[in-house]
Each structure stands twice: as C-alpha cells, then as structure tokens.
Amino acid sequence: MPEAPRALSVTEAMTLAKRTLEGLPVRVIGEVSECTDRAGYKAVYFTLSDGSSTMSCLMWRDAFDASGVILRNGLLVEVSGSLTVYAAKGRMQFQVRGLEAAGEGVLRMQVAALARRLELEGLMRPERRRRLPEYPETIALVTSPRGKAVHDVIRTLRRRYPLAELLIAGVTVEGAGAAPAIVEGLRAAGESGADVVILARGGGSYEDLMPFNDEAVVRAIVGCPVPVVTGIGHEPDTSLADMVADVRASTPTAAAETVAPARDEVSARLTSSRRLLGRALLLTVRRDRHRVAVARAHAVFRDPAELTSSFSQRLDGAAAGLVRALPDVVGRDRSRLALAAGRLGPAQKRILDDAVTSFRHAAARLEDLSPLGILARGYAVCYEADGTSVVRSTTQLTPGDEVVVRLHHGSAGCVVRTIDEEKAGQS
C-alpha cells in the first residue's frame, strides 16, 4: 500500500506548482484583449484568448519596450515564456519573455507567395499598363461610402476638374465581406461607361489592407475594361492591387489628381491655342499679301511706256542730230531740205510707233520665256558642277558626277546615280 502523500501547506502546494510549470518553456499564439499598459507599472498586463479559453499574461516593462510591439485589442501575437503561479492570489499567469505580432508575419508570407504567382503570370508587367484618358468625361470611384477617402476624391475632382461626371460605387473595404464587395464595385464601375476607375481607401494597418491583396480583387482590376488607378493610403506597404493597377497613386487625393488635369492647366492650354490660332491666321494673310505685292511689282505690271521711254529718247536724239546734220550735207539746197524735213516728220512718228509696238510684244514674250517663269511652274535646270554650264544631255554625265539643280527657289547640289542611255539625245 503506497504511502499517502503528506498534506502540504497551501504555500508548499503553490510553490510545487510554480516550480513544475516554470521549468516548461512554452510558445502560445492568441488574440490580445484587456491590455493594461500604464506608465509607472513595472510590468504590462494583457489577456490572450483563442475564442474559448483565456490566459492572463505579464511582461516586464524592459522586455516589452524592447519587443517594439504596440498592443491593441484583437491583435494576433505570438508569445514565448512560461506559465507561472502568483501564489498570493492563487492565480496562474503566463510570464512573457518574447513577444511578436503573429498575424502580420503569416499574412505577409501569404501575400508574397501570391505576388510571385501573379508576377509569373505576367500581370505586373509594365507594358500591361494602359494609358489614362487625358480628359475623362466620366470617372468611376470604388471606395467606402464612409470615411475621408470618398470625400477627398469628390472634393479634389470638384476643385480641379468638375467637367467629369463622378460615379461612385460605395462598398465595404474592411473585414470578411470586403473583397467580394470591392470586386462587385469594380464590375459595376467597369460596366458604367466610365473612362477611368479609381479604387481608393484611406490609411490603415497592414491587416486593414488585406482585401486589396485578395486574388479576386487583383483579377477584377486586371479584367476591368478601362484603366484603374489605385489610391490606397498604406505607405510604405504596396498592395497587390497597387502592383497590377494601371497607375498607382499614394493616396485617394493623389489618385483623383492623377485621373484628370487641373482646370487651370486646361484653361492655359486653351489660351495658348487661341494665341497660336490668331498668329497662324495672321501669318497666312501676310504671306498671301506679300505674294500679291511681289506679283504687282513685276515688270509686266509696270507702265509699259516706261519700258520704251529710253528707246524713244534715243530715237528723238537721233532725229534731232539728223536735223542738225542736215545743213552740212544738203546746205545748198534749202528747198530740198525743207521738203525732206517735211517728209521726215510723219515718217519719224511711224517708225517710233512701230518700234514701241514691237518692243511691247518682245517684252511680253520675254516674260513667257524667262527661265525664272518656267522654274516657277515647277521645271528645274541642271548645271554642271561649276554652276554655269547647262547640262542638256546624259552624254555630258557619268554616274558619280556632281551637278547643281536650280529650282524656282534656291538650288540643290546633287550627285548623278544612274543614267538612262535610251533617252540620251532626245529632246
């Protein structure tokens, strides 16, 4: 018969329990509640639970401060340490030596794995990104109908670009139902006829961001018929939604600024168009006025009499000289002189008239035949490299020769590449 154990004092029993428990290192994952962190306390107290059991925890201040974890209700943490007993109250406690946020690490690993998979699929390639419309008529916004984000976008667009109609799909962006709600919002936005979609959310924790790391949301962005701009305030974290978006802006306000220009910019562009329009027309008018002026200044439009005046003067001079010379030649026969002079008068006029007429004809033909006139009609003259001898036949040329081609405006130095022998010599 085994000896019945000796009855222990309460203190002895608690000491036994304490010694037994403290020898076992334990790691526990649980959700934080009832956190007490008061300045002046030597330790931080909180409760961990998993939904069906709870466990009181204590952590010395130095160790807690060193962990860098900010406790809040609902945070999933992993603690290491050991169970112990507080003998004075007969209570069991967990003495925490190591503390770290558990949920986030696990989530980050899952997100990173999904990111790799999507990247292999090519969904993050830069060339997949679509260009945003410059002046959208309709902008769709998918975001929570509560909170700052929706108003930030409305206000920014009202101030900068009220021309665009704003369609809003108000959806839940936090919690279990968020991902399907965002997918539905993106679908409605894509089918609304909008030119561009903004997917926005205000700042929050990494866990708050999780719906934007959901594969269904990522695929809804990729499948959206129009470009999607994300404005998810989670710097420095980048969500998968950001990675596949056509443009990623850092905040809802920045997203709104990205999808449309500022009214002032458009206004400045219009002002510059107005100036250019006026100047361009003025230049056209000036150019044509100049062309008319050049034509008007052309010789044929000047007084034709002026063209013949020097010839008339020479004729007059010759006639006068003739008259002066007459006395020397036929000085003795004054009656014959008078008779001759009388006949010379009408003859001189007839000669002059004929000369003027034929000179006018010649001047007109000269205009027709002027090489400059021909060039103006689109013909060109080909000179040898010296720029003076005209090339009339391919027999004057061999490939590689340099020639000068004179056009209506200016001339060009050219090199002969080929020669068509058959036509040589023909005119």
């Binding site: 419309p133 410059e134 002046y135 959208p136 008529e137 769709a140 109908p145 509560r146 700052k148 929706v150 108003h151 409305i154 206000r155 667009l157 009202r158 009220p162 021309l163 665009a164 109609e165 704003l166 369609l167 809003i168 799909a169 108000g170 959806v171 539905e184 919002g185 409605a188 936005a189 609304s192 009214r263 458009v266 206004s267 562009r269 219009l270 168009s273 107005r274 250019l276 329009l277 361009a280 027309l281 230049l283 056209t284 008018v285 150019r287 044509d288």
Partner: protein, 78 residues
C-alpha cells in the same frame, strides 16, 4: 472635314480640344490657302469658345452606382 462639322456644343470635351489643336497645327503649317485658313480659323474659334464655356460653367455631377454616401464630417471645404 468636308462634311458639315459637328457643332462644338455636341462634342466630347476631349474631341473638341483635339480638333482645336489639330486646326492650330494645320494653320501653323502654313500650307493652307487663304480661303481654307479662314474657314479653319472660324471653326477653331467656335471650338475654343465652346471649350472655354464648358470649363467655366462646369458643375460637378455625382451619381451613386452602389451604396449611400455618409455626410462628410471631416469637411475642410473653403
């Protein structure tokens, strides 16, 4: 461009602006005859006026596709 052009008021803002800017560059090119320059200039001015009018008079329209917006208690509107 030879058919009757759409009245600027009936065009999308972006289309009107694009046509305006193409008119400006055509006129700047200086290849147009005077008659056509004048025609394009008139069209350009009409487009310009329509765009500016819309820019000045535009008032934001907001339509809900889904959900209801809660009033903005963080409003910092001037």
């Amino acid at each position: 461009m030879s058919e009757a052009p759409t009245p600027p008021e009936e065009m999308r803002f972006s289309d009107a602006l694009a046509e305006l800017e193409s008119i400006v560059s055509a006129l700047e090119g200086g290849q147009l005859e005077l008659e056509e320059s004048l025609g394009r200039y008139e069209r350009g001015v009409a487009l310009l006026r329509a765009c500016q009018g819309r820019l000045v008079e535009a008032e934001q329209r907001v339509t809900m596709l889904m959900g209801e917006i809660e009033s903005d208690d963080t409003s910092d509107d001037a």
